[in-house]
């Protein structure tokens, strides 16, 4: 459906804006998670055909008429792996955030600037 594609793009934009403007590391990771959700919505919405049903062969859809009656199964298959990988990458980012907080005790990315030449050890 076109509306779900537009919704996916809006969520992608909101997630991108959140990642660019927020100062807290956890907020940045939440923005990444929202971007992920948006991208998956876009992909699955492209595979949808109007008036058709889920791609499972059972008593309602026989193998012979499947080509006329089912939705595209390929985007679903792609998004399945993408969702699980999104969770794993989010967990990895969070463990980085935990370790960063251990070194300097702050969750604001402003406190993690690289030292400039003036501030560095002489």
């Amino acid at each position: 459906m076109l509306m779900v594609t537009i919704l996916g793009f809006i969520l992608l934009g909101i997630g991108l804006w959140g990642m660019l403007t927020r100062r807290n590391i956890i907020k940045i990771i939440i923005g990444f998670s929202i971007m992920d959700t948006g991208v998956h919505l876009i992909i699955v919405s492209i595979g949808y055909l109007a008036g058709r049903t889920a791609p499972i062969l059972d008593s309602a859809v026989s193998p012979a008429q499947a080509v006329q009656k089912v939705v595209d199964p390929i985007p679903s298959a792609l998004v399945l792996t993408a969702i699980v990988i999104g969770l794993a990458v989010t967990a990895l980012m969070l463990s980085y955030a935990v370790q960063m907080h251990k070194t300097r005790g702050s969750l604001q990315i402003d406190d993690y600037r690289a030292p400039t030449k003036k501030q560095g050890a002489a």
């Binding site: 459906m1 594609t5 992608l12 991108l16 055909l49 791609p55 499972i56 062969l57 499947a66 399945l80």
Partner: protein
């Protein structure tokens, strides 16, 4: 100010980038030729009732192998980043933490102060045994801890059902693995001091991953190519023992995903 301008420009350019996609997209009326080929030929070639499972395991089997690898790398990364330091380091860190944040009520289960732990237990108001609360913190909620004993095997069984029947009903290895990991999350939430055996989890994960590759190689030897699932008999469409090696492969994928996600949760918890 300049930074805000740049961010604004980035968002506007992003909107312009997706605008042609949105205005020119027309909803499809027919399946794309690739999808039509997969859907039309699938009942003959593979015999699975769930088309998405057939695409994930066989037609796009190499993508699933890549996904399993990426999950393994992410789990290894999380485990490495959050590995527990030596006992000496952790006790020094605890003393520093308690000295620094004097006002914050951080409940540190490892601290050897029984009075503090008992105050915590009383404040939470749980009716659990007071004798056990001197060494370990009391269970957080009696409802949760007694319900999790009943619910945990049911959730595991449900997860196993999902990945065993992945080729018949909506579901499959990933969903079953995630449900199994949720069951372990329930167990962890019910009792904060319970630790899972890392060795068993790692063993299950590695053996499942190896079994997945071995089944792919069996397909190379006995059938047409790597990860071809037709070397086991097809059976009748819609039965549990059908679709060749698809349920076997997906069961191993389910076990691997479940143990990996549980490993991630366990590494993050402590």
């Amino acid at each position: 100010m300049i930074k805000r301008l740049f961010i604004f420009a980035a968002i506007i350019l992003f909107g312009l980038m997706v605008l042609p996609l949105v205005t020119r997209i027309a909803p499809f009326t027919e399946l794309t030729p690739l999808a039509a080929k997969y859907v039309g030929a699938e009942a003959h070639e593979l015999g699975a009732a769930n088309l998405v499972t057939a695409v994930v395991v066989t037609y796009r089997g190499l993508d699933t192998l890549g996904e399993v690898t990426v999950l393994f790398a992410a789990t290894a990364g999380v485990g490495f980043l959050l590995r527990s330091r030596t006992k000496k380091d952790s006790s020094i860190a605890d003393a520093e933490t308690q000295a620094v944040e004097a006002g914050v009520q951080a409940a540190d289960p490892e601290s050897a102060v029984p009075v503090e732990v008992e105050v915590e237990a009383d404040r939470r108001g749980s009716g659990a045994s007071g004798a056990a609360a001197t060494r370990r913190p009391a269970p957080l909620s009696e409802l949760l801890s007694s319900a999790s004993v009943v619910l945990f095997p049911l959730v595991l069984m449900f997860g196993a059902y999902i990945f065993i029947h992945g080729h018949l009903t909506p579901g499959g290895g990933f969903q079953g693995g995630v449900v199994i990991a949720s069951g372990f999350a329930l167990l962890m939430a019910a009792d904060a001091s319970r630790t899972l055996n890392h060795g068993v989890l790692l063993l299950v994960e590695s053996l499942s991953g190896a079994a997945y590759v071995v089944l792919g190689l069996l397909g190379l030897v006995l059938a047409a190519g790597f990860l071809d699932t037709t070397f086991l008999p097809f059976g009748k469409l819609g039965q549990v023992f059908s679709a060749g090696a698809i349920p076997v492969i997906y069961s191993f994928v389910g076990l691997k995903v479940g143990s990996e996600l549980t490993n991630i949760l366990e590494s993050l918890r402590k």
